[in-house]
Symmetry: C2
Subunit: 333 residues, 2 copies
């Protein structure tokens, strides 16, 4: 399922605002920003390959649903996308990931020390978009963004800490994801509503809706990282297993008896062979982790829907947000 045309139509506005946000600044940093955002290759030649722009789209759709013109939410949309890219640049260093959207990660091009600088630049530039906005809702939007980044950083801390733990509960896992992924998607929706001038109560409902959506998104990502089709996702299927990520299916299976003990054994020691990966996949099936992961994603989507139902919206606005939510949570790549 690729991005429906009605949302695709927003992308030129978003891209123009992002380009404007990094048009000026210290040259090596803005050059690498253009690479990370997908407009240039590592040699500075025009190229394509950035992300899906889910967060700025969510920000704009929330603002439009709350009665604003899309342009009114652009400072928030660029802010959340730049903050998202900051987190990706730092995450790729932390996780030693070599590829992102099928392209070499930033640290592989400029080295880890400079990639730390690049992330810090993207973060700062992102925050400035909101800090410099004169809209009445901008201070609330900025406060939400700060709160989201703190939760994101704490979530990333927990995610790294989980690598050394055999014993992560599903509750701990979902709390980690709520920070690492949910907080920024929640902020994207809340910021859109805030910039549209919505009430605090409505802003908070949008934020909570976006956060649930983010959780459902991540659980779907866990599913795709384990059982997804490599051609569709650009990730090697079971890449998450080869890297021993503590995804939801793994966390679930580790708690099962006796399959969990066998899995725990496999997750120890040296990097795994393809045979090991096949054994892990077999154990996951045995415990019902596949169906469970689907169930959790569905439950989180339903919770998001229930929050959306609490927001007072025109019928067509609600239908549009539901369509966006379906795209986010039911994507196959």
């Amino acid at each position: 399922m690729s991005l429906p045309a009605e949302f695709q139509a927003r992308l030129p506005l978003i891209e123009a605002a992002l380009r404007n946000a990094v048009a000026e600044g210290p040259e090596p940093l803005v050059q690498m920003a253009r690479y990370v955002l997908g407009w240039e290759d590592a040699a500075g030649r025009p190229s394509s390959g950035g992300g899906k722009r889910l967060r700025p789209l969510l920000c704009i759709e929330a603002a439009v649903a709350a009665g604003a013109d899309p342009s009114q939410a652009l400072s928030g949309a660029t802010a959340v996308e730049l903050v998202h890219n900051f987190s990706l640049v730092h995450d790729d260093i932390q996780d030693r990931d070599a590829l992102r959207h099928g392209r070499p990660t930033a640290w592989r091009i400029v080295g880890e020390p400079q990639a730390i600088n690049l992330g810090n630049f993207l973060y700062t530039r992102g925050l400035r978009q909101l800090a410099e906005s004169r809209l009445p809702g901008a201070p609330l939007a900025l406060a939400m963004l700060f709160e989201a980044v703190e939760r994101m950083v704490a979530g990333q801390w927990a995610d790294i800490a989980f690598e050394d733990s055999d014993d992560v509960s599903e509750q701990e896992y979902l709390a980690m994801v709520a920070g690492k992924t949910g907080a920024l998607l929640g902020a994207a929706a809340g910021i859109g509503a805030a910039l549209a001038g919505a009430s605090r109560e409505t802003v908070d409902l949008f934020r909570r809706w976006g956060e649930r959506l983010g959780l459902a998104f991540q659980v779907q990502d866990d599913y795709l990282g384990t059982w997804g089709d490599v051609a569709a996702t650009g990730k090697s299927t079971s890449g998450d297993i080869a890297r021993r990520k503590k995804t939801l299916p793994v966390v679930f299976a580790l708690a099962a008896k006796p399959a969990g003990d066998a899995l725990r054994e496999l997750y120890r020691g040296a990097p795994q062979s393809d045979d090991d990966t096949a054994s892990v996949l077999r154990l996951l099936e045995e415990t019902g982790a596949r169906e469970h992961t689907r169930d959790v994603a569905r439950r989180l989507s339903a919770e998001a829907d229930a929050l959306l139902a609490q927001i007072s919206l025109a019928p067509n606005a609600r239908e549009r947000l539901r369509a966006f939510a379906r795209f986010v949570t039911e994507r196959d790549r």
Copy 2:
């Protein structure tokens, strides 16, 4: 020269505000914040060993000179100190420094990935201090802080890039230091004036004064890192040489003939022996780099003084700022 008593008297106020700023938050992050800020050892036991708090002191002194009560500048003082500590935590990863203020650096305790998170947390928490202030000068103060961080990041980028270059001019070096060190000290002074409600013009003079002070401070640091007394600084004398840092004396000597060519040769290849370090020191003396470094520090201090003279101040306020500047630029540790 230790911190004069008149400035020392401000420290309890600053420490209390800093403790308050990180009193709450995700536990592993606030625990490491307490370590980095010098209040606890790595096991969480009460300890001492943080930095000199130059930036918050500068912020408060600027505010007081501009007619405010010290407490009015506290949000700015905590913001600049937290941002400074963010930059130290990331710099220590980038430079692979093992010790800071005689204690293990953060990445050596929690690993590089978590130290990246810790820096991001300190940065965010620092910005929030100003973003949540309701003082009329707070938006200008926050804008100055963002601008300073972008320049600091660009300066750090240049500093790392210089490591691979044989050919850095003194002008390029000073531009790098203006970003890496000068920008945040400039912001500290400007933010103090902004929070005190000073005019834009006065705020800008304070900012430029602080930036020159920061440059003089760094050049003095280069001097001490090469010829300073290890007992006073806690750094091994010539540690900068052992690590092949492109400090001002080195940049100056590299441009001299024929000593520069010999120095260039020594700075290539594998890590240096004590003999190599002695040879470098001899070459630096030969080119007059020691006296030149002193001269540049003096010139920068004089430029700072000239900027201070342009600010309309009560005589005792001016004298106090000059005393602070002397402490910053003439310190022996």
